[in-house]
Symmetry: C2
Subunit: 427 residues, 2 copies
């Protein structure tokens, strides 16, 4: 019996669980070596979650992981016939609407609360009212070139984790009386400002809990996520609903051409973008600024034990939408955006780009999905080419295998801005 | 404007969020003082999550907490008429069955895998098969006094967080070839052994992820909970299903009188006990060995900022069942156990005991709910008497206000064993 990785968990010593917390007072001793050996000779690699010899899992991790081991119900199949595509896409949209649980749009319309000028555009601050108990503000950047007489194209900009609408908008210290944070040097991710400078009306909304939605200075997204889940909702459901209010408002502005609206999502912001893509057929084009990830697969393969014998935890609970991963994985949703144009700016596995490409071809939108790898992986000979990821990875190994150059993660303005401007130009 | 608690979060300095993680690269500065001041003059106590002056929350914490602020749909109302009680109880049972999402009982029956003898009873180890991909074992303690000719009463014992079936059973080192952990000194919580010594057949099952269900020596209940939630299930749903298999098996054993079966839950184990109580009308009596907590109220009032400006996080995600708290809180479920006898061994608020008492009276089971406070709070003059808890508590303040003497948390054998034996004695 080969225990290559057993030094991490075994070594013949007892592992001590000190059980802490509210209801806990118990100290239990667990014989890790004896336990692991009991799993049988097949389990010769502790990096992988394996059942015992009769195919049954003894560990709860194995049991519960097996619940996600089948294929998603609405996975895109490349053997789908062209005439089946629209029906499949409708099923994806229906499932997404059910999972997002958006309430009815509020009767109360957004209200303007402040305004300031930057060079070449004005910035307005508006408030929306997603719930009777909630107020959420957003910023609108309106280029001087856009008027009621000559309505312009527009883009909803959704920040990544930790980003704010002010940061995306390049709002300066003192621009608004009550605002934070000041961003005198908006670095490389002033997404909304970049689009506005290129002549697009740009709207920026915070992700739930971040920026102005912080709780006494802390972006307490974990508690907000938990409370939403307790209430049968989810972070993504509420977040995409907040974004949607700004999008619905945008369609009604006289200086916006409602036929030329796009969404640009960065990192965490790609999730509400995917939700909105399924819920709103009026959106004309999408900028997907992240690597294209199979988030379900990622949970299954990130099982390497670290130096303390722990496996990586799936990403935190703002990404949890109960039942979501039984329906589809991210590439399936991007496939269901077809034939509407999408730009993917930060690579991933060519496997998934091929899948998206096949969906676009099937839908009659061949070429409408434009995919770019990270510069580091631009040359195909530098990329890993896998149809299936192996189990037992740690996060660095995972990133390497999916061609994600995470230190270079950032808004790819040079790709995104001209592409979106072109997609939203008058035909 | 009074900022009594502002030293914790304000002090005129900037709070720096260093945003870390997979998709994060952003450092954002947040002006905590300015932000808190923007909430308006009413918000003069940062311990409490308050809306701004128009009643709307600016913080996501406030917005999302407001989703739980109404009353649960199936809250027990003491103004209910006796003839309404059974209908209400059926609604509670239906909601619980929906929330627990138990699959069909498996076709494959449990199988005995080992046996050993202790003084006065034998201990058998059995395997059950909750899923095609899962095996879960349980221990059965069968007193010598119990035979097929003279079937005995029986009790399903559910451990607390960190407890194991071996610990509850007082199983000794070497009792079973492959087992862990050895418990040569089972301390004060050998619940199953105590019942067996008193002549009851006792079954002990691990909570999901603990003991034998650990993952290479770690009780990775957080990942298991997360995976269950991803799959649209929950820790409590799967856990109560595992417990239920042992209960169903117990009913069929020739040495058990199926008319005399009880459930004894300790701490975390009270949760699957409450679920089973709603799902299984055959259970005759319940030992609820914890303080009676309004878990929904607890989330709402635990909002004190700690020395680092953080509010307490609601308990971890093994307690999360999406939508559960919209339906009922724990005292409502205990009320719906009426008129079946229940013993509550570790106090709580008299408010909640009165509620339970009223339900029992309404159901025709007056006196069937027996409630004991912690010895520290046995004298009414030592107890806090509240109808509603104030917001802004930390955990210690909460425990004090609900009369929970947490250091004395433990199986109350002296109360539970004779009580349950009496309830399950032949009439």
């Amino acid at each position: 019996m080969n225990w290559g990785g057993a030094g991490l968990v075994g070594s013949g010593i007892w592992v001590i669980f000190v059980v802490m917390g509210i209801k806990c007072f118990l100290v239990a001793l667990v014989a890790a070596t004896a336990l692991c050996e009991a799993w049988g000779a097949e389990n010769n690699d502790s990096l992988v979650v394996r059942p015992r010899s009769d195919g049954r899992h003894v560990s709860a991790r194995g049991m519960t992981q097996s619940l996600l081991s089948g294929k998603p119900r609405l996975e895109f199949r490349s053997d789908m016939k062209p005439e089946e595509f629209a029906g499949w896409r409708d099923s994806v949209r229906t499932a997404m609407a059910r999972l997002m649980r958006h309430p009815a749009l509020p009767a109360q319309e957004p209200r303007k609360v402040a305004e300031t000028r930057h060079d070449g555009y004005r910035v307005e601050k508006w408030e929306a009212y997603p719930l009777e108990t909630a107020v959420v503000s957003f910023l609108v950047l309106i280029p001087d070139s856009v008027t009621e007489e000559s309505p312009g194209a527009a883009v909803l900009c959704i920040p990544g984790f930790g980003g704010t609408k002010e940061y995306l908008s390049g709002v300066r210290s003192g621009d608004f009386a009550l605002e934070q944070p000041p961003v005198d040097n908006p670095s490389t991710n002033a997404m909304a400002r970049e689009y506005a400078k290129a002549g697009l009306v740009a709207v920026a909304v915070d992700n739930v809990s971040f920026g102005e939605q912080a709780d006494c200075g802390r972006a307490d997204y974990l508690t907000s996520s938990r409370l939403l889940l307790e209430a049968g909702w989810s972070y993504l459901g509420f977040n995409s609903f907040q974004q949607r209010l700004a999008l619905e408002w945008l369609k009604k502005q006289p200086y916006v051409d409602p036929e030329r609206i796009g969404v640009s999502g960065f990192s965490l912001g790609t999730e509400p973008m995917m939700a909105l893509a399924m819920l709103d057929g009026d959106i004309k084009a999408f900028v997907y600024n992240d690597f294209l990830c199979r988030t379900r697969e990622r949970i299954m393969v990130l099982t390497a034990l670290d130096s303390e014998g722990r496996r990586p935890f799936p990403n935190s609970i703002e990404h949890l939408i109960p039942g979501f991963l039984l329906e589809f994985d991210f590439p399936d949703i991007v496939a269901a955006m077809a034939p509407r144009p999408v730009l993917l700016t930060e690579g991933g596995l060519d496997r998934d780009f091929r899948l998206v490409g096949e969906a676009y071809e099937l839908s009659g939108g061949k070429g409408n999905a434009e995919c770019h790898h990270y510069p580091k992986y631009a040359d195909a000979s530098d990329r890993s080419e896998l149809e299936e990821l192996p189990e037992g990875l740690n996060l660095n190994e995972f990133f390497r295998l999916v061609n994600c150059d995470s230190p270079s993660h950032g808004f790819k303005a040079a790709l995104a801005v001209p592409w979106l401007k072109r997609q939203l130009s008058k035909q």
